[in-house]
């Protein structure tokens, strides 16, 4: 079996840790409609990764990612708070600005171009034992942060006006969740890269939602999907390169399998009851108040 090869076993261990955090966090990203915010975070972490690498080599990478991720979490929360910009517009501004800084930094040094691909798409097969320990620590922090605030976050996501009325500070809850997402990106960035991590956060929860409407079940199914796609992706990339001489990066094989799982589950959606959806289509569409501070009646 491929897992008897040490570097494959390490890659699988790293993916298992990521599955453990991306399953539950993905549920909140999906429910809170933060897909675009997570996408932005993956892009804004990019200059941090580059600066960290330039300053401290591979070891500096995580620190750089951490600083950039936390900074973005704060900036995004502040920008959406004022209500001056919609979530989408402010996110896009931060995303493009930070990503271009990363590209400028990388292109200044021609020797880093080969590493650009690993920043963007990760290096799953060169995961070190130390890296696994770091991911495990981050995973523990992320799960603890999620456990502490799961109920308020759920309340705020479902009904921001009532959560504010109950005394919850929406700004801090939004910042809390954005920091959690930033930490997930940091944890995943070396293994799967800044671009593919967004797939681990969004696709499993979206696929799980196709077959269940229960939040806890969505988290579990999301984790299981990443585990299956992780193992399957490693096996496919191994078989492709060893048996057939085709260079297929493991992380992209994992993501391709996740997308395939989503597409396979898509037809199952019709078996879920959808009365609410058909009702709202017939009646006037509900005016969604996505911005946390849109409380004007």
């Amino acid at each position: 079996m491929i897992l008897t090869v040490p570097f494959m076993a390490r890659a699988m261990a790293e993916l298992a840790l990521l599955a453990l955090i991306c399953g539950p966090v993905g549920v909140f990203v999906f429910a809170r409609r933060l897909s675009f915010v997570s996408d932005a975070l993956t892009h804004t972490v990019f200059p941090g990764v580059v600066i960290g690498f330039l300053a401290g080599g591979v070891e500096g990478l995580v620190v750089g990612a951490l600083v950039a991720g936390l900074l973005t979490a704060v900036v995004l929360t502040l920008l959406t708070r004022s209500g001056a910009l919609s979530d989408d517009a402010s996110t896009a501004v931060v995303l493009t600005a930070m990503f271009s800084i990363g590209v400028v930094l990388v292109s200044r040094e021609s020797s880093y171009t080969s590493d650009l691909t690993s920043f963007l798409f990760g290096r799953l097969l060169t995961v070190t034992p130390r890296q696994i320990v770091e991911t495990a620590v981050l995973a523990a922090v992320i799960l603890a942060m999620l456990a502490i605030a799961a109920r308020p976050l759920l309340f705020r996501t479902f009904d921001p006006a009532a959560a504010a009325a109950a005394g919850y500070r929406l700004f801090w809850l939004d910042l809390w969740l954005n920091v959690i997402v930033a930490l997930v990106v940091v944890a995943a960035v070396r293994a799967v890269g800044t671009i593919l991590v967004v797939a681990l956060l969004i696709i499993p929860a979206a696929a799980a939602r196709l077959i269940t409407a229960r939040l806890a079940a969505m988290a579990v199914i999301g984790t299981v999907l990443i585990l299956l796609a992780g193992y399957g992706g490693l096996w496919i990339s191994w078989t492709a390169s060893v048996d057939h001489g085709i260079a297929l990066t493991s992380a992209s094989a994992v993501v391709l399998l996740l997308v395939a799982a989503y597409l396979l589950l898509l037809p199952l959606r019709r078996f879920l009851p959808t009365r609410g959806r058909s009702l709202s289509r017939g009646a006037t569409p509900p005016t969604r108040k996505d911005s946390p501070h849109e409380l004007v009646g």
Binding site: A164, L279, P286
Partner: protein
């Protein structure tokens, strides 16, 4: 005294939405906020919760500044603002009313689940506990939101258009619960543009449209003269002396 507003102006970011509010509410009373769309009804409810700024005058909730006594207030938002696709059950929604009591990381206790179940039973939806919120009818969803507020056992309950798009069965169920609440000493403040309903259900009516036009018992407030001044061009006098309100 549950509420006391004295020549109060409320609004957002320094811009007043509603001015000259003079009202008071005692335990066991029901106050209806009446006025056309955009009159400032929701703003006034949020002012009680401390979610909008008090720009002038004074506002007291349970003798304190608004927002200080949120644990004693319950809030029922407009059901149309919520996403029907959101994956939560009716029971989970009602349990949200207990979150402040449960705290941040403690597990849900049996007492909290019992309180949530009782609240759902009180609005006549005990049988729908496990159903997804979005699969319930509009009226049932409104009752679930009422149950969520009841689960927090508030002394002042604020309801934002609780009868909007609600079927007759749900409206009766809600009205029954509201009458029980006032009998038990809970103070109610609800916004509605249904003046007939306001007249039936409320002890006090506050007529607003950008400013307060009248406050007092329904019989004194809901008169043709007052309505004409509050509704402006939307009040039409019929030849037989009656007044009809037209809302866009």
């Amino acid at each position: 005294m549950v509420l006391r507003f004295t020549d109060t102006s409320v609004g957002y970011r320094g811009t007043p939405v509603l001015t000259h509010v003079d009202l008071s509410l005692e335990a066991g009373q029901c106050l209806a906020l009446a006025g056309p769309n955009g009159a400032g009804k929701s703003t006034l409810i949020k002012a009680v919760l401390g979610l909008t700024e008090v720009l002038a005058g004074t506002a007291q909730v349970f003798g304190d500044a608004p927002g200080q006594a949120r644990v004693r207030c319950g809030y029922v938002p407009q059901v149309g603002d919520l996403d029907p696709d959101f994956p939560v059950t009716a029971a989970q929604v009602v349990l949200m009313g207990r979150y402040r009591r449960i705290g941040w990381w403690r597990p849900t206790r049996a007492a909290d689940r019992r309180a949530a179940r009782d609240a759902l039973d009180r609005v006549g939806l005990a049988g729908e506990a496990g159903r997804r919120f979005g699969l319930l009818s509009g009226g049932q969803r409104q009752r679930v939101l009422l149950a969520r507020a009841l689960a927090a056992e508030p002394e002042l309950l604020l309801l934002d258009e609780p009868f909007n798009g609600v079927d007759v069965v749900s409206q009766e169920a809600i009205l029954t619960v509201l009458r029980e609440l006032t009998k038990g000493g809970t103070a109610l403040m609800l916004s509605t543009h249904d003046l007939a309903l306001a007249r039936d259900v409320a002890d006090l009516v506050c007529l607003i449209n950008g400013r307060q036009w009248a406050f007092g018992p329904p019989g004194e407030v809901l008169t043709a003269d007052q309505l004409r001044s509050a509704y402006g061009g939307h009040a039409i006098d019929l030849p037989d002396g009656r007044t009809v309100l037209v809302e866009p």
